[in-house]
Symmetry: C2
Subunit: 305 residues, 2 copies
């Protein structure tokens, strides 16, 4: 049986761990010991689009992990560096897969070990109701691609495993087109939500009056698309169409960056907006509006103290 470590048990990590536990031996690496104890004793309950309780192993001590075939690093981007450091020198047989938002997660992990690496982006979402209960909200796919020392076949092997567990997954020879579509979408929608305190709703697509927010959202996405084009990336999906479709669902989604600023937590700003702005500088494309929202959210974080 395949053995999998899911490191990070927020909503995405928990959704992956619980589902994978149906088809693999799963070890969850948590930050807090009581979280691991609760998972070991109570299991991990999924509600919403699925309804079951998974039995799995959990520990907060990286040294207690057995070697695994696959390690999925599913923490927030802001927690990735310390998490990768905890795994340094461990899991010699593992292929490691990142699923963070933004750009640069793979490089952070690569600096801590020579594991074969896979990249992933996920479009599914969940709501964490506690240490042992996550609601499965959006059942959209996770996309996987090779990064270092891996092939498209390796990506398909993991995608097939994830799909066999009941989640949606697909593999690609090159993940960058999907990664960039999501980057531009997230840089825009997350930051605008964080600044306005609006969930991702109809305002983001409204373009009737001069004051309507959709004009700004579209202009921000156009800047992002110009950067992708200059970087030689042909987008998998048009971020504006993703935005219009998402706002038509009628579901008021709260982007994580909005939840972060409301809880006065550090946001994923640097991996998302910072990456986009720095990449724009590198390829010589002016992104005045993306730079503006990057600086505004940075200042919002400064307002916590």
């Amino acid at each position: 049986m395949t053995r999998v470590c899911v490191a990070g048990a927020g909503s995405i990590g928990s959704l992956l761990a619980a589902h994978l536990a149906r088809v693999a031996e799963v070890w969850v690496l948590t930050r807090r010991a009581e979280h691991a104890r609760a998972l070991e004793t109570e299991g991990l309950r999924i509600s919403g689009r699925a309804d079951f309780t998974a039995r799995l192993h959990a520990t907060a001590d990286a040294a207690a992990l057995p070697d695994v075939d696959l390690a999925i690093l599913a923490c927030k981007g802001t927690d990735l560096e310390p998490l990768a450091a905890r795994l340094e020198g461990r899991l010699p047989g593992a292929t490691v897969m990142t699923v963070q938002n933004g750009l640069g997660a793979e490089e952070i992990v690569a600096a801590h070990g020579d594991w074969p690496l896979l990249s992933a982006v996920t479009f599914m979402s969940g709501t964490r109701h506690g240490d042992t209960h996550v609601e499965y909200v959006l059942d959209t796919a996770t996309w996987i691609g090779p990064y270092r020392g891996t092939t498209e076949d390796d990506a398909w092997a993991v995608a097939d495993l994830v799909a066999s567990s009941g989640l949606k997954a697909e593999a690609f020879a090159d993940l960058r087109p999907a990664q960039w579509s999501k980057l531009i979408f997230n840089a825009t929608v997350n930051a605008v939500a964080a600044l306005t305190e609006l969930p991702h709703d109809f305002h983001f697509a409204a373009r009737e009056r001069l004051s309507d927010l959709g004009h700004l959202v579209r202009d921000l996405m156009d800047e992002g698309k110009a950067v992708a084009a200059a970087a030689g990336v042909e987008l998998h999906d048009d971020p504006w169409e993703m935005n219009v479709l998402a706002t038509q669902r009628g579901h008021r989604h709260y982007p994580s960056m909005l939840e972060d600023v409301e809880a006065r937590r550090p946001t994923e700003l640097e991996l998302i907006n910072g990456s986009l702005v720095r990449e724009a500088q590198r390829v010589g494309v002016a992104v005045p509006l993306q730079t503006a929202i990057y600086r505004l959210v940075k200042a919002k974080e400064a307002s916590y103290s």
Copy 2:
């Protein structure tokens, strides 16, 4: 003795009313009857940079006002239209002076009567501690200019009256250079504070790192200066220098628009940022960043409901 009506008893109206009551017969027009009763019975206390309690008349009933020589409309911009409507057909002997932020206050009042009109902008500030107590915080000047059916001499007569009461005031033949300096300053500082929840502090002038907010503040002010130039207005003060000076004071000023969004109240966005963006359209100057913050604050107001 000169008779003055101060309509609107927020912090600015209260500071003007209490000081003017030392040199004139003052009638305060309030919105709430209990506010007027409290002012009539307790007087109006000023602390901070001055320390006294003024005795004055107050009423919430515009019909109860005697005719006056001067009426100062000192409410917030969002309250000006209904306030001017309450005075329609009244105070036939009055010169009426507006002191709102932004542009367009005079036109709103002009539509409700043919009084001679003066324009004013004020740089003083106060903190309202209750209906009958206002702290005088910044003792900067109020600037007055002619608008309709008035001359620079009329402006000086009011400036001299205000100065004789203990506040700082000056008159100008043309108020637009000062009004526009304050417009560009407020459009930028108020909106950025409202979006970031930072008070007007050192972050607004910081320009060391790519992510620093001062870059954005300066770019926003440059856009405003381009609009003023295209509109034929030579600014009285450079808004960026105003910004740097204010942030060096070491005093953490909370712009009114930040207080408004924290209390989930309507802001003065339309009179300030809306005026600037529409004026830019009129004179054909592109202001993408000012337009962006205008749309973001508009969306923030939409998040209240």
